[in-house]
């Protein structure tokens, strides 16, 4: 099974810290809302998305797989 990034949008408060950790995967749109651009990133991105999950102030990001 590949890597899967799940963001609980009921918890996410658009802090955007994940964007710094994994800019290829997360983005804040023009309204400042968080967007997951790549929901199933390549295995080579594992470390970056795990870092993104770590730095989320509200711990809204789960990495599956």
């Amino acid at each position: 099974m590949g890597l899967k990034v799940v963001v609980d949008m009921n918890v996410c408060q658009d802090h955007g810290q994940c964007v710094f950790a994994a800019p290829e995967v997360f983005e804040l749109d023009d309204n400042g809302r968080l967007v997951v651009m790549v929901e199933e990133p390549d295995e080579s991105m594992r470390s970056a998305v795990e870092d993104a999950a770590d730095v989320c102030p509200v711990q809204a990001i789960t990495i599956e797989g």
């Binding site: 408060q13 658009d14 955007g16 964007v19 804040l28 400042g32 770590d54 102030p57 711990q59």
Partner: protein, 414 residues
């Protein structure tokens, strides 16, 4: 060869991240984490904010542990009471002695209490602090409609509690020795603006005054201020900063004047020399950060346990494996402190160390002070911090521009 053991004192965010990073760097020995609370590591910032409104539970606040770090030995509710850094042992409150090959001090801070006599310093007596989940659960139960709440201290935690209590329909008085809330990190202009917004929402400030007495015997009934004002209270929240939990390291030549003094690799400094195999991370680590200056700082921001935990783990792994240790500790590392605060609908986000700014070095960079804005904090020509009120995407854009200009140039060049 017998398996090596890393003992981590403290089961908070710093302890967890250090353990995960040790595994990520390939340390295969035993990792034992001792904590004084019964709970596995959980996220503390919500305790003064959303956790006071609704349902909170350990389950909701608990940190997920990386799948690569499941083989950790958690010894919760099992605090460390002392250490012998020459014998490489720690002594638990229970009396048990545990040996280590490397030791990580991640014991964090406790809420400071006022040394003024009065009713017992317990939540049951109406005297609250906010540091642990149990603290927040007790306070939440007391913040009922029309409760008379006195918040002592007007830093970020005090202001967050004041805002939350107002939104819950409490009568809120906020008492502080400072001239404006949050003035020390934010400077007078922004602090005065935030004071205005709190007042607009009904917080009553008593600034430039201290507390002289608590009233009540078995339960607090009020407080007396240094200007003679008496305030009736059902709930008093002591939000007066913290004290470092470092007594267990006493007596070994470490510099414990403010947390644990470390070098840039987070190794504890003993008699002026970094001590191999003893590290400090998180709120108690006082480390030099070349992004700003040579002076060691202790920083109680949320990102610091993670950043220092990772850095300490690289040094510990190299030390225990004997691989590239000298290079790893000599490689300069820096941290960018970051904090946020939620008060009413106001989202504040900061990067850097705004408190280092010159008195005349605070300037509006974007927006309007009375609406959304970004303030810049300068020391000489250097931008040492930014604080955004709203404008999150814009303040995030300043992130890489915070620090000593000379250092930022050197970093860009390398």
């Amino acid at each position: 060869m017998t398996s090596q053991r890393v003992v981590i004192a403290g089961a908070g965010l710093g302890g967890l991240r250090t353990a995960e990073a040790l595994r990520a760097h390939g340390f295969e020995g035993e990792i034992v984490i001792f904590g004084d609370e019964a709970h596995a590591p959980y996220n503390r910032p919500p305790l003064s904010k959303e956790a006071l409104y609704g349902e909170i539970s350990h389950e909701k606040l608990a940190f997920r542990v990386r799948s690569t770090a499941t083989d950790l030995t958690w010894r919760l509710n099992d605090p460390i009471a002392g250490s012998d850094l020459d014998a490489h042992t720690v002594t638990l409150a229970s009396g048990e002695v545990v040996t280590y090959d490397a030791l990580v001090a991640a014991t964090g801070v406790s809420a400071r209490r006022l040394p003024i006599p009065g009713p017992p310093a317990t939540a049951a007596a109406g005297r609250h602090v906010i540091r642990t989940l149990d603290d927040a659960l007790a306070l939440r139960a007391s913040l009922t409609q029309d409760a008379r709440v006195v918040v002592l201290g007007a830093g970020f935690i005090g202001c967050e509690v004041a805002a939350t209590a107002r939104q819950l329909g409490c009568e809120v008085h906020c008492v502080a020795i400072d001239s404006h809330p949050m003035i020390r990190p934010l400077g007078v202009e922004l602090a005065a603006e935030l004071e205005r917004r709190h007042k607009e929402r009904g917080v009553i400030f008593h600034l430039g005054v201290g507390l002289t007495a608590f009233e009540g015997e078995s339960h607090v009934t009020g407080v007396v201020l240094s200007d003679g004002t008496r305030l009736a209270a059902d709930v008093v929240v002591e939000a007066l900063g913290s004290r470092c939990n470092v007594e267990w390291l006493d007596g070994h030549g470490l510099d414990l004047t403010d947390g644990v003094l470390t070098d840039n690799a987070l190794r504890a400094v003993r008699d002026g020399v970094p001590l191999d195999g003893v590290s400090a991370v998180g709120d108690i680590a006082r480390f030099p950060n070349p992004r700003f200056d040579d002076r060691p700082w202790r920083i109680e921001h949320w990102n610091i346990p993670t950043d220092t935990g990772r850095r300490a783990a690289t040094a510990i792994t190299a030390y225990l494996s004997g691989t590239d240790y000298a290079d790893v500790v000599a490689t300069e590392w820096d941290a960018l402190p970051s904090f946020w605060s939620d008060q009413y609908e106001i989202r504040m986000q900061s990067y850097g160390m705004p408190g280092l700014a010159d008195a005349d070095g605070i300037r509006l960079l974007e927006g309007e002070l009375h609406g959304e804005c970004v303030m810049g904090y300068h020391r000489g020509e250097d931008l040492v911090g930014v604080v955004g009120i709203g404008m999150l995407k814009i303040v995030n854009g300043y992130r890489d521009r915070v620090g000593k200009a000379e250092w930022l140039r050197a970093r860009a060049a390398s």
